[in-house]
Structure formats: structure tokens, C-alpha cells
């Protein structure tokens, strides 16, 4: 039960809403004739009440406005009759027109106006205004010459039906894709019409639309149809090109006109007009597809009649500058819908996407002109080049067949091009993508490297630093040998003493005791002389002792020294009293020298 109840309730609600809107429901709207107004300049606010079968409408209450002056008011009542699908719909509109002037610069808001009608309160939406210093120019609505030719009647004398209508005529009802259709929109009237404007602006969905004429004022021409005189005003003319096959519809369009009525009241300031809306009937166009049979590959969408021309702007180019190939398609047809022709790959040439220019005008209802394609061509090297012939195919609706046009080929020569890439490589060269380089080839041995650097170069460096130290030492030594006599003597002595000691040792081995002792003594004294820079042979024993003490040689060492010297002396002069142990004496001498 509950499941059923909900939809049922909804249905009831809908029905009641529909009923409410039908029974005396009205529309209450507010509008201004311009939203940007000059300061102090008069503008119009229209509060209109629209509804079917309306009874008398009370005056709506205008809200209190501090920044806006009300200069005057008037009202107009009109019956709006529209014919849709042959049925007449009668609507009444009561307009309350207020002449207002703004007193402040900036943004202003006209608050909502309210209206009580049959126990209900309606309110309009607030309107935003911009008030400027200088009056803004505003597009004026179409103004007709009141009382156009042959239109003396006013509304009250004859019925509306058949005497006021919007006519839309198409030159053809069955066309190929891309074939032009001329559209003519005109207002036919037997009344005096004051002004008007589009209620539903004509749009042509599914068509490429080439504007021919747009009326900005009524320009009535007298025409007699079935013995009745009409004023006919062209409102719009256009040429349409269907884009895709199938059925295309030119939708119904609406036009509002103000028909002059006989003045009913002398107090009616703005005069009395009746605002009427007329709607046109939709028109269905049958669009035939272009035949697939025999459609050439070079077809680029052209339908009509064309001629083809083409030229290069230069036949010689230098420094790799581009030449331009201009291909022009001239004739009648859907020029704007034509795609650029395809130019094939040419070895050594880079053909860029073309620049397209349309130069189209409408003459006698047909669209004619020139479509220009400019292809920049960049030579990729030096030499003679040839751009092959350009072929364009189009469809001729008169013969119902395709036609081919050709122009070219075009030859030019290039020199001094900066791009040194060889022509063979440049022909259609395209970087398809980048990738990593390939792997290294097979090996017969692999390195077993270490991530750490070798250590021995550091050792080598330290050693070389050592040689620098040695060199410095040697250098200073050799310099001192030259400049310092004592140093030179000392450095000489070591070698001398060594030699004497060695000699002494040899003598000992030969059992030449006398020679041994003499040599040992000489070595010892010579060493002392060199060591302390003394002239030892010239010194007495005591002088030598005091000299050694002065040079801070320890007393026991001096004693040991003299002991060795004494024993040598004794041995030299009394061989029989020679030391019992010459070896021991030799060691003692060496020991003494080491201690000094």
C-alpha cells in the first residue's frame, strides 16, 4: 500500500499545480530599457503583467527609491495573439511604464515591485543599474516609418489572422551537403507597424551560415497578394550550407511587433500600441550525402564550381629561407568549408601546414570568392627542387559528379642553406623517439676495479717530499762546506779518522805494533783537531786538556783520552813495553772518540 501511495500523492500534487497555473495564473515581470544609464537621463521601467484571460489588473506598487526620481507614468494594454501550429493563443499584457531618472552615480538597484491579484501577491526580481556620467549610446530598436506604403489600416479595423505574419522561405528543400540554400525572412503586414525586434533570434543549427542582409529598420515594400495590399519588410537574408547529410531543420523563429492602435484615451501619454508576436513555421531541409562512388582521394569538401591557380613566390632561395606556394581556389560554392589540399612528402623539402585565407562575398544569392592556401616550404639542403602538382577535387551539384583540378608542378632552386644536413637524411627524416644507447659488446676479460682510489701514489708523493728534504739538506751542507771552514774540517774528519782507524787495524793484523800505535795516536789527535778546530800537534798536553775542558768535554773522558795517548806513546818508543793487548787499546780509542 505504501509503495502505491507515494506515486499517487505525487501525481495529485502535479495535477493540482497544473490546475493552479492554468486558472488565472499571471506573470509579473519588470524590465528596463537600458541597464547602463546616464546621470539624470530619462529611462524606462516597464512592469508588465501577462496572463491568459486576465481580468482587470490593479496598479502595482512601485517600491520607494531614494536614488531614482519617478518622472511620469503611463500604461498600455495589449492583446498578444500568437499562432502556433494553426491554433490561436490569446494573451493579454498590461504594461505599466514608468519614466525614471537616476540621481546618483554608481550601481543602483531597483527593488522588487509587488502586485496583488486575486488574493495573491506577485513580485518582480530586482534590477541592477549602472549609472554613468555621460549618457550611453544604446542600440535603437527598429523604427518603422509609421504608415508605411499601403498600410493605412489600424488594428481595430481588420482581424489579425492572415494579415500579419512572418515568412521564411528557403530557395530549395533538397540539397547536397555543402550546397547553398538562400533563406529569406520577411515580415508581411497589413497594419501600421511601429517597431519590432526578434523574440526568438534566428539560429541555423546544422548549417554553415553566410550572412547576406540584416535589417536594422523596417523598409516596407508594397506587394499585392490575392487582391490585398501588404507591406513587406525584409528582416534577414542568408545563405546556408548544410554540414552533414540527413534532415536539417530551420527552427521556428519569433518576432515581436508593435502595431499602432487607435488612441483610446487622450491621457495616454505614450500613445497606444499593441504588442504582437508572430512565429514562423519550421522548415525541414533534406540534405543528401555526396555520392561515395567515384569520390577522388583529392576531394577536400568543395561543393560548387571552382577554378584552381597556384604559384611560388620565389623560384630561387638562399640561406635556407622558405619559399611560399600559394594555391587559390576561386569560384562559387561552400568556400569556407574547403580543407587545404594535401601535398605529398618531397625529399629534401619540409612543407609546413598552410595558412588559410577566405575572401568570400555574396552576390545574387550565391556565395563566391577565393580561398587561399599558403604553404611555407623550407629546403633542407642545396639544389633544385620540385614541388609536385597540386590536385584538388570538388563536387559539382549541377552535373552531380566530381571534378579534378590540377596546378603545377613548381620548381625552384636553393643555395647556401645553413642546415648542412644531407638531403638524403633530411628526406622525411623524423625523430620517432629517443632511447638509451645499446649495451657494450662482449669482453675477453673484465676489470676488477675497486671503488677506492689506489693508495700507493700517496706513498710515492711522501717519498718525493723526502727527496726534497734530502736535496735541501745536501744543498745547505755543500754551501756550508764552502763558507764554514770548521764545518768543512769536521765533515772531512770523519772520513779521515775512519781511514786512519782502518789503517791502524790493518797494521795490527800485520803485527806491526809500532806502526799501529803511531797511526792510532794520529787518528785520535787528528780527530780532536778536526772536531774542535784545534791545532793539536802544536799544543802542549796541558793546553790540550784545558781546551777540551773549555769545550765541555767531561773530565773522565779526557782522562781516558790521555791514557790511550800515553799508552800509544809508550808503545811507540819502547816496543818491549808494548801493551799486552793492542786490541783492547784500539777499542778504548774508538770508545773515546765516540764519547767526544
Amino acid at each position: 500500500m505504501r509503495r502505491l501511495a507515494a506515486p499517487f500523492l505525487a501525481l495529485c500534487l502535479l495535477a493540482s499545480l497544473a490546475a493552479a497555473s492554468r486558472a488565472g495564473d499571471i506573470e509579473f515581470t519588470a524590465s528596463v530599457d537600458q541597464t547602463t544609464v546616464g546621470l539624470g537621463e530619462q529611462f524606462q521601467l516597464v512592469l508588465s503583467v501577462r496572463g491568459e484571460d486576465m481580468l482587470s489588473v490593479p496598479q502595482p506598487s512601485l517600491p520607494a527609491m531614494t536614488a531614482i526620481d519617478v518622472l511620469g507614468r503611463s500604461s498600455s494594454q495589449s492583446t498578444n495573439i500568437s499562432f502556433i501550429g494553426g491554433q490561436m493563443k490569446k494573451e493579454a499584457t498590461v504594461s505599466f511604464i514608468y519614466a525614471l531618472a537616476a540621481k546618483q552615480l554608481g550601481k543602483l538597484t531597483i527593488p522588487a515591485a509587488t502586485l496583488s491579484y486575486q488574493g495573491r501577491t506577485y513580485s518582480t526580481q530586482p534590477i541592477e543599474l549602472t549609472v554613468e556620467k555621460s549618457p550611453q549610446g544604446q542600440a535603437t530598436p527598429m523604427q518603422g516609418a509609421p504608415g508605411g506604403p499601403g498600410v493605412p489600416q489600424t488594428r481595430s479595423q481588420i482581424p489579425l489572422e492572415g494579415n500579419l505574419y512572418l515568412s521564411v522561405t528557403a530557395s530549395r528543400r533538397s540539397v547536397y551537403v555543402g550546397e547553398p540554400i538562400a533563406i529569406d525572412i520577411a515580415l508581411y503586414t497589413r497594419f501600421q507597424v511601429e517597431n519590432g525586434g526578434w523574440a526568438v533570434v534566428p539560429t541555423f543549427d546544422g548549417f554553415w551560415n553566410e550572412k547576406v542582409f540584416d535589417a536594422n529598420r523596417f523598409d516596407f515594400v508594397r506587394k499585392t497578394i490575392d487582391g490585398r495590399t501588404f507591406g513587406v519588410a525584409d528582416l534577414k537574408r542568408a545563405v546556408l550550407f548544410p554540414i552533414s547529410p540527413g534532415e536539417a531543420t530551420i527552427k521556428s523563429m519569433g518576432f515581436n511587433v508593435a502595431v499602432v492602435q487607435q488612441s483610446q484615451s487622450i491621457f495616454d501619454m505614450l500613445g497606444s500600441t499593441q504588442s504582437l508576436r508572430v512565429d514562423s513555421k519550421p522548415i525541414t531541409i533534406k540534405v543528401l550525402p555526396l555520392p561515395e562512388a567515384g569520390k577522388p582521394a583529392e576531394f577536400t569538401g568543395g561543393v560548387g564550381r571552382f577554378t584552381l591557380t597556384g604559384a611560388l613566390d620565389h623560384t630561387v632561395t638562399t640561406n635556407g629561407e622558405p619559399v611560399n606556394l600559394t594555391v587559390r581556389l576561386t569560384g562559387t560554392g561552400n568556400l569556407r568549408m574547403i580543407e587545404p589540399p594535401k601535398l605529398g612528402l618531397v625529399p629534401g623539402l619540409k612543407i609546413l601546414t598552410p595558412e588559410t585565407k577566405d575572401d568570400v562575398r555574396v552576390e545574387d544569392g550565391s556565395v563566391r570568392g577565393t580561398k587561399t592556401f599558403r604553404f611555407p616550404i623550407i629546403p633542407q639542403g642545396d639544389g633544385k627542387f620540385e614541388v609536385p602538382a597540386v590536385t584538388v577535387a570538388y563536387f559539382d551539384p549541377e552535373t552531380k559528379g566530381y571534378k579534378k583540378l590540377s596546378v603545377g608542378p613548381f620548381a625552384f632552386s636553393a643555395s647556401g642553406s645553413t642546415t648542412s644536413a644531407p638531403v638524403t637524411e633530411a628526406s622525411g627524416l623524423k625523430v620517432l623517439g629517443t632511447d638509451i644507447d645499446y649495451i657494450k659488446p662482449d669482453v675477453t676479460s673484465l676489470g676488477q676495479m675497486s671503488m677506492d682510489p689506489p693508495w700507493w701514489p700517496n706513498v710515492m708523493m711522501l717519498l718525493s717530499l723526502g727527496t726534497v728534504g734530502l736535496a735541501v739538506g745536501y744543498r745547505s751542507h755543500s754551501q756550508r762546506l764552502q763558507s764554514d771552514r770548521g764545518y768543512a774540517r769536521m765533515s772531512r774528519s770523519t772520513a779521515l779518522v775512519k781511514r786512519r782507524l782502518k789503517q791502524a787495524e790493518q797494521l795490527l793484523k800485520k803485527h806491526d805494533e809500532k806502526g799501529f800505535h803511531a797511526e792510532l795516536s794520529r787518528a785520535l789527535l787528528g780527530y780532536l783537531g778536526d772536531r774542535f778546530n784545534l791545532d793539536t800537534p802544536a799544543l802542549t798536553r796541558d793546553q790540550l786538556r784545558s781546551a777540551l775542558s773549555e769545550r765541555s768535554v767531561a773530565t773522565p773522558t779526557i782522562d781516558a783520552l790521555f791514557e790511550v795517548v800515553d799508552r800509544c806513546e809508550v808503545a811507540r818508543f819502547s816496543p818491549e813495553a808494548a801493551s799486552r793487548d793492542p786490541r783492547q787499546l784500539f777499542d778504548a780509542a774508538r770508545d773515546v772518540m765516540a764519547r767526544i
Binding site: 629517443t434 632511447d435 638509451i436 644507447d437 645499446y438 649495451i439 657494450k440 659488446p441 662482449d442 669482453v443 675477453t444 676479460s445 673484465l446 676489470g447 676488477q448 676495479m449 675497486s450 671503488m451 682510489p453 689506489p454 700507493w456 701514489p457 700517496n458 710515492m460 708523493m461 717519498l463 718525493s464 717530499l465 727527496t467 726534497v468 734530502l470 736535496a471 735541501v472 745536501y474 744543498r475
Partner: protein, 239 residues
């Protein structure tokens, strides 16, 4: 399991050269995963720039950009004058999700290029030899004072300085402890643990430096200075 065991046997029996050549064969057959294993076997014995390069290629083919970058960088470290290595390293870097925004100044770039024409070992060797020669020439000059020796000292010392700077550049890079993110996506936290706030999202191949390690976690830093803690398994150290 089969091919892996087989490869291990292969490496044991035939050695790194054969493993490397086997890797090349598998790579040519587009068995990149197999090639990766073979090259890894070849590298077990020691580093070789060619093996690192080829392994980088195989890893790149299997979509492991980060690991490929690690091996390309090792190959570059060992053979910096190899054009293929530099090309593929740049290529792999361009393939990353996280693009490096830091671009060095042209002068620094030139200096870097000049100094990095020597590998670290070459630079160390050259610096050692040249400084030794300079020392010897200087010693000889001290003793004999021949002008030619002084000139030789100067030349050797200057060249040695160049090699020394090159070596220092590499040493500085190694000391920075560079690493590469080797997982598709990882978020870095503000501390060494899952419970810390996630501060940075890193992707495969992003190059970072390891500033600190704590257990399983490593604090990494991007060249721009921002950084965070990652699990060490998400990155691979280059050197």
C-alpha cells in the same frame, strides 16, 4: 628458481667474463630480467664500468629507473669519458617522475665537466705521479739549479693540482654518500619510524644523499635541502 640456480652454477664454473657475455646474449634476446642476473653475477668479482653500464641498461629495460641510475653512476665513476654512459645516465634521469629543479651555474657546470674527465682512480694516480715527478724535479733543481728543472717542476705541479682537484671532487661526492630511491614510491617521514609524520613523497630514481643512518632507517636529503627518513631498503647507495 631454475634460471637463477643455473646462472649461479654458470658463474661458479665459468667466471665473470662468461656471465657478462651470457648477459649480453640474454639482453639481445630481450630477456632483460635474465640479463640483470647475469650482469650481477659478472659484477660479483669486482667492478667494471662496462658491466655496470650493461646492467644499467637491462635494469632500465625492466623499468627500474632508480637501480639503473645507480649502476650508470658507478659506470660513470669508473669511466667518466664514456659517451654512452653519460647519455644513458641523462636519459634515465629524464625518465624520472621527480625532476630535479636545481640547475648548476654554467661556470660550475664547465668546471665539473673539465674535472670529471678523469675517473677518481685515474685522478689519484695522476696526482701521485705528477706530484712525485714535481718533487723529484724540484729536488734536482735544488741541487743543480737548472732552469729546465724549475720549469718541469712548475708544469708537473700544475697538472698534478688539476688531477688532485679532480680526485677531490670525486672524493667529495663519495663523502656525501649519494643514494638513489629504488622503489616506485616512498614517503619520507620526519623521524626514523612509521609513526612519524610523512613529510615528502619520493619516486623511483630520485637522487638523494644519506646524512645519517639509524638502524633500518636513513635520513636522506634532496639537493634542494628538504629531506626525511626512509627505510634503507628503499634506497641504494651509489658508492
Amino acid at each position: 628458481m631454475g634460471p637463477l640456480a643455473w646462472l649461479t652454477v654458470l658463474a661458479l664454473v665459468l667466471g665473470p667474463v662468461q656471465a657478462y657475455n651470457e648477459g649480453n646474449r640474454l639482453y639481445a634476446q630481450k630477456d632483460y630480467a635474465g640479463a640483470v642476473r647475469a650482469y650481477e653475477e659478472a659484477l660479483r668479482a669486482g667492478h667494471d664500468p662496462r658491466a655496470h653500464y650493461n646492467l644499467g641498461n637491462a635494469l632500465f629495460r625492466t623499468g627500474k629507473i632508480g637501480e639503473a641510475i645507480v649502476h650508470y653512476r658507478r659506470a660513470y665513476y669508473l669511466a667518466p669519458r664514456d659517451h654512452d654512459v653519460a647519455t644513458n645516465l641523462a636519459f634515465a634521469r629524464a625518465y624520472r617522475l621527480d625532476k630535479s629543479t636545481a640547475s648548476p651555474s654554467p661556470l660550475a657546470h664547465l668546471a665539473d665537466r673539465t674535472l670529471r674527465s678523469l675517473s677518481r682512480s685515474e685522478a689519484a694516480l695522476l696526482a701521485g705521479v705528477l706530484f712525485t715527478l714535481a718533487g723529484l724535479a724540484f729536488s734536482a733543481w735544488i741541487v743543480w739549479r737548472v732552469r729546465l728543472l724549475g720549469f718541469a717542476t712548475g708544469v708537473c705541479a700544475l697538472l698534478g693540482l688539476y688531477a688532485f682537484l679532480a680526485q677531490q671532487l670525486w672524493a667529495g661526492e663519495v663523502a656525501e654518500r649519494p643514494a638513489v630511491v629504488v622503489v616506485p614510491e616512498v614517503s619520507a617521514a620526519s623521524g626514523p619510524g612509521d609513526e612519524f609524520k610523512q613529510v615528502l613523497l619520493l619516486h623511483d630514481g630520485t637522487e638523494v644523499r644519506v646524512r645519517e643512518t639509524r638502524g633500518e632507517w636513513a635520513l636522506v636529503q634532496l639537493p634542494g635541502g628538504s629531506g626525511g627518513w626512509l627505510e634503507q631498503s628503499a634506497i641504494d647507495r651509489v658508492y
